[in-house]
Symmetry: C2
Subunit: 278 residues, 2 copies
């Protein structure tokens, strides 16, 4: 395990000296099968896999769940080892943001709308911590889940724009048997809420089919939003069709698109997304 | 000469493979003896020296001199070779900012006040391009002049905050015989303005002495501003004493400080600075 940038770099340096390639899988811990799929994908892309576990304060809003976010470092470390990960990187907040730290990475364009609007400052925090992690480890590849699809696009953008020498790899969403996208926040769900949560994926799948079949975008999205509220969701933050590459809003399906949703079930905010082909 | 990131990286890779260390000297071209001192300093710090020449559009305000800024790539390349630099890196604007580029690096704190206030967005442009150049070349050391002292502090800050693996080295200001700090913008000065420009350094030196001798900060700065205007400067953007490390304003001289000035001589904006010891 590495707790500091210096320890992380020393390990990576040793691997490099031995001619080995390195993958990084950044996580916020509370690891589940979704994360494990990222580790397994990383193992196919590089000789050594570093998994970072860091609950990043700068990507949480003042009223969000930073302090409540589940933390279970021992369990996470065991899971990473069991999945074949070679190093757990568990930095402290003081290591990542020492006194006086005052630099942020800001991505415009792909970070606008969706979670960018719903969570002001969120992607600035994500962009900054991911830049730091990538420059601390300087891996050959870094793996991120498509569950946070907009985040993946923000990271692809900043890596290209800042010339960070790393290949970014997106990994498909891993789902529970009933279709619920795996998420550390699923732990917040009550026994009553849990089956309702699975409706998100069912409704997204249905809507993607309707869109592919020619149903008008505005109509299909309105119907999906209504269906979520009918199912028991308290509020829908957004339910929108966007271009799969640029993330600009799509009003007519002519190119590959992606349907995005964020909705509140009680106090828990769940997100999901699905590809839509014209 | 390298025109693309790929060419630059190929050369640096070859040097690394041969066990050589690399220094980067970022410039905007229009090279003068001040820049050459940076190259010579870099040669003492690393085996190979890359000098980048790029007039960075994102650090110029809409009413500033981006298009008028002197460009003389052939002359610069010859000067770099003569000084012992090993590679000139001359990227195009399209190479540095391809279509869709939308990531900026933002440093707060040290970038506030002084040129940060006088030139909104300037340090964001500087921080972004320097981050890119450092990540393109991944040098062991990078050399910047103390002429742009606030810029040097912004760069030190972002390198630390983003964990860029490079040592930042500041180089002392190089001056003309009459004390005028060397600057590419000195080329804008008319024959009548040129001797007046030298008054900046004389007045800063005098003021630094008065401050060290106990003259109150507000009084000394007001007198220096008046002296500049009397000498023929059209306007003084700022003349301020700041902490030498944090760049916070100093009202009483108790720690090492730095006196900063930006003033307009006709249409030319000149900057300079000097250390002040308590």
């Amino acid at each position: 395990m590495a707790r500091s940038v210096a320890e992380l770099r020393a390990q990576v340096r040793d691997w490099r000296a031995a001619g080995l390639t390195v993958a990084l899988v950044p996580t916020m811990g509370a690891l589940h099968a979704g994360h494990m799929s990222l580790v397994r994908l990383a193992l196919t892309k590089a000789d050594r896999v570093v998994v970072s576990v860091f609950v990043n304060p700068t990507q949480f809003g003042p009223t969000e769940d930073f302090s409540a976010y589940p933390r279970q470092p021992e369990q996470d470390s065991a899971a990473i080892a069991a999945a074949g990960g070679h190093l757990v990187y568990l930095p402290t907040v003081a290591e990542m943001y020492p006194e006086g730290a005052s630099t942020m990475v800001e991505v415009s364009g792909v970070s606008a709308g969706l979670c960018g609007d719903a969570r002001p400052g969120h992607f600035r925090g994500v962009a900054t911590i991911v830049t730091k992690l990538l420059l601390q480890a300087l891996p050959d590849v870094a793996v991120f889940g498509e569950k946070d699809f907009q985040q993946l696009m923000v990271i692809r953008r900043l890596v290209r724009d800042l010339d960070i020498p790393v290949e970014v790899i997106g990994a498909p969403i891993v789902r529970e048997a009933d279709g619920l996208a795996m998420s550390s926040r699923n732990a917040y769900l009550s026994a009553e809420e849990r089956p309702v949560a699975a409706r998100i994926h069912a409704i997204l799948t249905e809507t993607a089919g309707a869109l592919a079949g020619g149903r008008p975008v505005t109509e299909a999205c309105a119907a999906a939003t209504a269906a979520l509220l009918d199912s028991g969701f308290r509020a829908v933050d957004y339910l929108e069709l966007r271009d799969a590459e640029t993330l600009t809003p799509v009003t007519e399906l002519t190119r590959p698109a992606r349907l995005f949703v964020a909705a509140f079930l009680g106090r828990t905010r769940l997100i999901d997304n699905i590809g839509v082909q014209p």
